[in-house]
Amino acid sequence: MLRTGYKFMFVPLFSATLFVLAAPELHATTVIVGTCKVGTRFSKIQDALNSTPKPTIVEVCPGTYPEQVTISGTVTLEGIVSGNSSVATLVPPPGGLVTNATLLNGDPAAVQILVEDVSNPVNLTNLVVNGSDADVGSAAVVGILYRNTAGTINHVVTFNVSGGAGGYGIYLGGGTQNPKVTVENSTFDHDETGLWVQSNSTSSALTAIIENNLASSCATCIEVASGATATISNNTINVNGVIGIALAGSTGTVTGNTIVGGQDGIEEGDAGFTIKSNKIYGASQFGINLDIAVLTADVTGNTLSRIGTIGIAFCGSSGTFNKLHSNTFEDMNIGYSVPFGFITTGSTFIGVTTDAMIPCG
């Protein structure tokens, strides 16, 4: 009986093992763009994406690809290392970028990688998008647009994405699928806006995880507008522009970021972000500008150094003072700008020349 039972159990186990081993083989379709690797090859990324059967993985050889790409099915699009190079770069086509999308505010946009309304995740890895500072007239220029689609953007570089009507390295738009998108380990360099996050919903219709990225030389480096939940952590931002992180109309956390230079380090308006343990250095105007009526989340544990005008400005409701505490101000003229009655609980002032705090107005 025992021997029979053992055999009986072994058969389904063996079958299950076969199924598990065979399943990836049955479902993974990998195609190659370029000639650096054997397999089903295409010369253009878009041709690979459009091929049948639909690829689940598109591997892109090092090279330059003058394309605007639209992704309409779940896929992993990844640049691969070949020989001694790891640069797969999308550049504008010879005829220039054309308008192919609409942003959430209704503006037309010319997008280099467009990911829209895909029901399953789309992942981008190890790719470079060179906007070439292309100007598309009245349309904005976008390096990568995810709209109503989940996925991960990892180790991607966008640079020189700007235009007469605005430029965005990466634009994440929410939607009815309430997607979750992660942007990590990526670089935004000389983009007008490095990363933009927004949905058109009054409640959150997008979850964005933004971590371990570098944004450099941007007018606004990271901006979260309305209708999203965002976690912004451990990014390094070398502003050389206006604002490091701009927050409006959404909720989430901003923690452990390092922001250098620019006009304002972090600016929050009509939002509910916990702003904690960030290091902000050398902003010419405000370290953190809380242009908000009521603080609903803590602003605490931040270190602000060499800020030009005011370390942290908050002139909203005195009933929410307790959310603002335990920050460190170093080497500046004014620490807090706050209404009467504020108490600098737990805060540290080092070399604050004029006032630890001044009243608003």
Binding site: V87, V157, T187, T236, S305, R306, G351
Partner: protein, 385 residues
Amino acid sequence: MLRISFKLMLALLISAFVFAFGVQELCATTTYIVGTCKTGVQYTTIQEALDASPLANVIEVCPGTYPEQLTIINAVTLEGIVANNSSAIRISSPAGGLATNATINGSDPAAVHVFVKNATGAVNLTNLIVDSTNNQVPSDVFLVGVLYQHTSGTVNHVIAVHQQANNLGYGIYMEGGSSNPTVTVENCSVHDFDFGGIYVTGPLGPTDIAGGSGVTSDVPTGQITAKVENNIVASLVDEAHNMLFGSSTLDTVTGNLSIGATNAPGNFGMTVDANAGSVISGNSIIGTQTGISLQDDGPSLKTNKMYVLSGDGIFLNVNLKTSQITGNTIQDTLFDGIDLNCKTVGTLVHSNTFEYLAAGYIKSPTGFSGSNTYVAVQNDFTACE
């Protein structure tokens, strides 16, 4: 019998209390105030408070400007205090400038703004601005904002600025010696210097590195033990070394932010010539020319991040036997990630990440390999030619 025991115990208890309070009285803290913001024994200058008898354990300095050149030779805590909504305790140059009062790097004359000299106990500095504007230091004399020479202690929340003197200005300089002092530099801000930001080195200066007097003798190891954490250092000019860890030092260096000058990016984020066992980890370097220059075998470079540099992320100037270079990220740099400089590295260099660079490793020795991450790198590595 019981009553006698009780009385004996009571007597012992009382004696113990008397002894305890007596000891406390003997070790009582002597605190002086500089300025008038707080009651107590008050002085108008910091040096007067330092020289007063009995010697102070703690000197609290009111917000204000103190045009002084200080010498500290005894254990003390010198701290700026917050009063009247201000926390700016600025030690400025005296009207006549800073006098030459020290020798650094073995033989270089120096004008030191706050000189902590051969103190037998710990000297702690907290919440002070050392502003060496108008220092009037002669052209052949070095300038130092804060110098610890052969003294232990902690420099915490100190701002050293405007140490500019013909490209011979240092912000904070910790020099060891035979007493093997233990020092900590933490939460400080150093900027607008024209040669060195934070230096930690043996008594003969950085022997293998620019900035010393060129002495190349065999210096005994372990002449200073240093912890350097969570500081911000921003350079002003080309050729400056934001942070330098010189010969005969043993360092834990972590959480620091080293920033290059916008219009003069030809400087070094960190220059490392420390002892074996030192670990330089978790630091961020932005916008300098070279991120970290490793001058001697021994210290390890781990999990540091270097961004937007105009030169190499890490430059190797020595064959490696023990130093490890792992887990570092070099991102968005015009040039190269790690210049191995044709040195022998064995398997000690690996697991580094290169993103958006012209090259990952350059001048790689024959047979070099290692598991690394390359993202948008034009040439992952080039060989030694």
